[in-house]
């Protein structure tokens, strides 16, 4: 099966005055559709930067990333935005809901951006699925952290993405709520057959994925394909 995400000799360097700082150094890997991958590593190892590059939120300094069959390096920011809108979903550690929109409207936005009609019923259905059917008209500030993350999950699945990027999805939640959110993500992921790429510090959470990519000092130091094998067994 062809890959949904191909990372090919990718490096990322930031310029700070006269000094340059290499955050990612010659990263290579490939992810097949439907799989789930965890990116782990200590703070400052480049996990979030790698996630951002894979999702087309930023451009690599060298190397190439092919997402859903399209090479990101040749695309403008607006063209990358169009790919994100059509094929990508996001879940963030700090939820990143639009504060001036209700829960329902937050979920509707990706569908509206796609130009779809009658999006309200789809959004309602998703919010029901995440257990927020009775909180649809609440603003983010009126919801708890766990509820906000559920809205964020509903929003992430709204456009039926081919690939879902999650950045520490349970990082800001207590253990109990975190577990609920974890289950929700994995269940919806399984149900919709979406590819999941997740950055996490949480070893247990990483263990639930098919594959773990370990970063250290900007380099990919371990690619535990076994995880994928053992999980599939």
């Amino acid at each position: 099966m062809s890959s949904i995400l191909l990372v090919n000799h990718v490096s990322k360097t930031y310029q700070s005055g006269s000094k340059s700082l290499t955050v990612l150094n010659d990263i290579n890997f490939e992810i097949t559709p439907g799989s789930s991958v965890a990116i782990v590593g200590p703070s400052g190892s480049g996990k979030t930067t790698l996630l951002g590059l894979c999702a087309g939120l930023d451009g690599a300094s060298t190397g190439n990333i092919i997402l859903t069959g399209q090479s990101l390096e040749k695309l403008s920011e607006d063209e990358r935005a169009a790919i994100r809108n059509e094929h990508v979903g996001f879940i963030f550690q700090s939820f990143n809901l639009l504060p001036t929109l209700t829960a329902l409207e937050n979920v509707m936005v990706p569908l509206e951006l796609l130009g779809k009609k009658h999006v309200k019923s789809q959004a309602l259905e998703l919010l029901e699925k995440v257990g927020l059917g009775d909180r649809i008209h609440h603003y983010p500030a009126q919801l708890s952290g766990g509820e906000q993350q559920r809205v964020s999950i509903a929003r992430a699945f709204a456009n039926k993405p081919k690939i879902l990027f999650a950045d520490e999805p349970t990082g800001n939640l207590d253990e109990e709520t975190g577990a609920v959110i974890e289950n929700l993500i994995f269940n919806l992921n399984k149900e919709s057959g979406t590819t999941l790429v997740m950055v996490t510090h949480d070893g247990e959470l990483a263990q639930r994925t098919n594959r773990i990519l370990k970063l250290k000092g900007g380099k990919l130091v371990d690619d535990s394909q076994e995880n994928e094998i053992s999980s599939s067994l």
């Binding site: 979030t48 930023d58 809108n85 001036t100 936005v109 796609l114 130009g115």
Partner: protein, 841 residues
């Protein structure tokens, strides 16, 4: 257009929690638009009124004016055409009110019964305007009656004749209150003029003939074909209804154009406030835009969401401004009543309203574009990390800047109808803003560079707030600074004008001028003056003459020459000339040599004032021929003088040597100096009683009149400056509210680590005190520069800054800034920190 409807929807959704703030941004344009709409609407009404009342304003179909009696042949010619005529002779003269013993220089208007053919002289009682001709009475200007406590039935002495006053004049066709302030009219029947004894040789008399065309003639054809050629031939000046319409229309559109520019400044200040508020707003929206970008929104979609919000808020602000403008418009006739020659019927001008709304929307969107275009550069990566990214260079910023400058130029051009003035206005505005911007920047830099580390905690915090992130220092310095500059310039230049006149009352300088003295009266008036212990500082003979030829070319020929660069005024004016054997201390010779006595009749060397020589395009040795009441006198330019005009005394553009004009018809002028008002009043009374033909101008009268006229003008300018200052205050309130959340966080942190409520209030007080001080001092600095420039270039007088006035402006504006700042931050200190944090978050 699904995309656009989504943008509208998103703009609506996003605005939900920000509407009060967005409205606050937009409230700063309401006053500017209000002023624009009011003035434009008022201007449209004025134009309509001028068009519909032009005949009433002129009082006739045609007005013929001359410095010499209207030729009988012309009157005969007009009679043959069945044209109705009414003659008026007017001149300046003293009148004496026997009841109060008061005397004053007035404008005597001796008229015939048919005047005016259209409109009317409004009097109290009404019938006085009709009956004073037949009853041989006088009607007297209302303000004059008030000044001398005169009533209908009293009498007024004009020359040798005493007239019963049959009524007071409220309004005359075509005359505004401001013109009657300078020269209050006294109407007498023309038939009685001879008997007053005021028609003496050398008197300056204006002759007018009012003309009413026969019924049923085609106005234009009749005038163009029958009358105009004859009037041209007679070399008479004339005004027909169309010309009067044009003159009045031009005068008032100049006035409304000027006022519109003042209103436009208020609008621009408001827009700067909008731009600054939107800047802060956009900073707060970075995360939301990054999320949208992450979800797949394009860069332009991000901009459009906020542009739509600004558009609608600009529209609402403009609509409210237009509403306010239509209300203000009803106040304007009161404001301008002294300047208008008619009562104005007001109606709302749809065009002015639409224009105001369009300008409001365009300016708010244009100015908001500055911060809004930054949205395009927001990276979706911001959702993952709020790391600092250096600002990227954006060429679009320059495009927006160019659009703003073009818009300002376009607007000023539409008001001034002169591209040079429009460029000067645009550059002036940019330079002022740049000075304020530069001063603001400099002060921020100075505070950082020389930060008083040893000062108290409160002072340090207050000062540091001036340069901390998201500070409003620059925008407040610009808006409050420009407002202060406008008001202070006004106050200082008003002082400047009054001082200029007061300066002339310095010791030993004359402060009273007696003119129209006949030759045989000279010795007696000198005697009378000396008896009253008043010094005769100067006694000058004056001969009136006109220019006959210049450099050998007759004046008529030069007038017809369209290529000539000789200024018109030098060809047309009546020259009042004196003769003496030497120059006086107000004159400095700059070229040639002054010959005080004529050597021979064919070599008369005269002296010209340098400005006149320049406008005549003549140099030393050039021939000039004057028509001295019929006699042609050929002269040569012998010298060129510079004159110090800053004194109440007689100065002459043309000076003759002795030995030429002694026998010509002339009158005399006498200059003296009084020490107190009573002495002046007694002396004037004696002179007027003995020699009614002699007119007197004294410094006290000039000062009073000037003060009154300036008071009326400055009230209008203050009214307009009010819009700028109030806009500055609204921008200040807006800026303070916008930075409130940040202030709350700081205050909460400070309070958490142990700062008292009192200390936080003091920190705020310090900050607003510094802000108010910087802004007002910079404004005052600009005002001083502007007033100096006015003094030096326009009024040509010494600039003595009124520091007391400047100090009052500084204290008032700083106090206002502190007050508003403190009132807005009250909620920050008066509530428990946690409650505020929860509420704001």
């Amino acid at each position: 257009m699904q995309n656009f409807s989504w943008l509208l929807k998103m703009a609506w959704r996003d605005s939900r929690k920000n509407r009060s703030r967005l409205f606050l941004f937009m409230s700063s344009i309401i006053l500017g638009i209000g002023a624009l709409v009011a003035i434009n609407s008022f201007g449209d009404n004025l134009t309509e009124q001028i068009n519909s009342e032009a005949k009433e304003l002129l009082g006739a179909d045609l007005e013929i004016t001359s410095r010499y009696p209207i030729p009988d042949s012309l009157r005969q010619f007009l009679s043959e055409l069945n044209v109705e005529q009414s003659e008026e002779l007017s001149f300046a003269s003293m009148v004496y009110f026997p009841n109060s013993g008061g005397t004053r220089l007035v404008n005597i208007r001796a008229v015939e019964g048919d005047y005016p053919f259209y409109g009317q002289i409004e009097t109290t009682p009404n019938q006085a305007a009709e009956t004073f001709y037949t009853n041989n009475n006088a009607i007297v200007d209302k303000s004059l009656m008030l000044q001398f406590n005169a009533k209908t039935g009293d009498s007024v002495k004009v020359g040798e004749l005493t007239f019963p006053i049959s009524g007071e004049v409220n309004k005359t066709p075509g005359q505004s209150a401001i013109t009657t302030t300078v020269a209050p009219p006294v109407f007498i029947p023309l038939s009685q003029l001879e008997s007053t004894g005021l028609l003496q040789t050398g008197s300056r008399i204006n002759y007018k003939l009012y003309v009413k065309f026969p019924e049923g003639v085609n106005y234009t054809d009749f005038f163009k074909e029958k009358l105009e050629p004859r009037l041209e031939k007679e070399e008479l000046r004339y005004d027909d209804v169309e010309e009067r319409k044009e003159e009045l229309g031009d005068a008032y559109s100049d006035l409304t154009g000027f006022l519109n520019l003042t209103a436009f400044i208020a609008l621009l200040l408001g827009c700067m406030g909008v731009a600054s508020s939107v800047q802060v707003y956009v900073k707060e929206k970075v995360q939301s835009v990054a999320i949208l970008r992450c979800l797949g929104a394009s860069a332009s979609q991000g901009v459009w969401i906020y542009l739509i919000q600004i558009f609608f808020m600009g529209l609402i602000g403009s609509l409210m401004g237009a509403g306010l403008g239509t209300i203000i418009q009803y106040y304007l006739p009161q404001l301008f009543q002294d300047f208008l020659p008619f009562e104005i019927d007001l109606s709302i001008s749809g065009f002015a309203v639409l224009q105001g709304i369009a300008i409001g929307v365009i300016t708010s969107v244009l100015f908001a574009l500055f911060p809004l275009i930054q949205i395009r550069k927001i990276s979706p990566l911001k959702v993952l990390r709020a790391s600092f990214e250096p600002a990227q260079k954006d060429r679009m910023k320059y495009v927006v800047l160019l659009l703003v400058v073009l818009f300002i130029f376009g607007f000023s051009f539409s008001q001034l109808r002169d591209w040079q003035n429009a460029i000067i206005f645009t550059i002036g505005l940019i330079v002022s803003a740049l000075i304020l911007f530069g001063v603001g920047k400099l002060i921020i830099w100075l505070v950082r560079r020389y930060f008083p580390t040893g000062s108290s905690f409160v002072v340090r915090q207050g000062l540091a707030n001036l340069y901390r992130p998201n500070n409003q220092t620059l925008i407040l310095v610009i808006t409050i600074g420009i407002g202060t500059a406008l008001i202070t310039t006004l106050l200082l230049s008003q002082d400047l004008l009054l001082n200029k006149v007061k300066l002339s009352s310095k010791k030993n300088q004359p402060n009273m001028v007696l003119f129209d003295i006949q030759g045989h009266q000279v010795s007696e008036i000198i005697k009378m003056t000396e008896e009253d212990k008043l010094p005769v500082i100067q006694e000058v003979p004056i001969v009136t003459m006109r220019l006959a030829s210049l450099k050998g070319r007759p004046v008529d020929q030069i007038k017809k020459d369209t290529t000539t660069d000789i200024r018109n005024w030098v060809l047309n004016r009546e020259y009042r000339v004196t003769y003496r054997d030497k120059l006086i201390d107000s004159e400095t010779l700059i070229e040639g040599e002054y010959q005080g006595k004529v050597q021979s009749e064919d070599s008369i060397f005269i002296s010209l004032e340098n400005g006149l020589a320049e406008d005549m395009k003549v140099e030393l040795g050039y021939p000039i021929t004057f028509n001295v009441q019929g006699a042609m006198i050929k002269t040569y330019v012998g010298s060129i003088r510079k004159i110090d005009w800053q004194r109440v005394q007689t100065n002459f553009l043309v000076l003759f040597p002795e030995g030429v004009l002694e026998e010509a018809p002339k009158f005399h002028v006498l200059l003296t100096r009084y020490e107190n008002v009573n002495q002046s009043a007694d002396y004037q009374q004696k002179v007027v009683k003995r020699f009614p033909n002699i007119s007197i101008i004294d410094l006290d009268l000039i000062l009073k009149t000037l003060d009154e006229v300036l008071g009326k003008i400055s009230f209008i300018i203050q009214f307009m400056a009010f819009f700028s200052i109030t806009t500055g205050i609204i921008v200040l309130i807006g800026s303070v509210s916008i930075s409130k959340f940040q202030r709350i966080q700081e205050a909460v942190l400070l309070r958490t680590i142990g700062a008292s409520k009192k200390q936080i209030i003091r920190i705020n007080l310090m900050e607003y005190f510094f802000l108010g001080s910087i802004a007002s001092l910079t404004g005052i600095f600009i005002a001083l520069l502007a007033t100096w420039a006015l003094a030096y270039f326009t009024f040509e007088t010494a600039f003595i800054p009124n520091f007391a006035g400047a100090l009052i402006a500084y204290l008032a504006i700083t106090a206002l800034t502190v007050l508003i700042g403190l009132m807005n931050s009250r909620s920050v200190v008066n509530k428990p920190p946690l409650e505020i944090l929860r509420k704001e978050v």
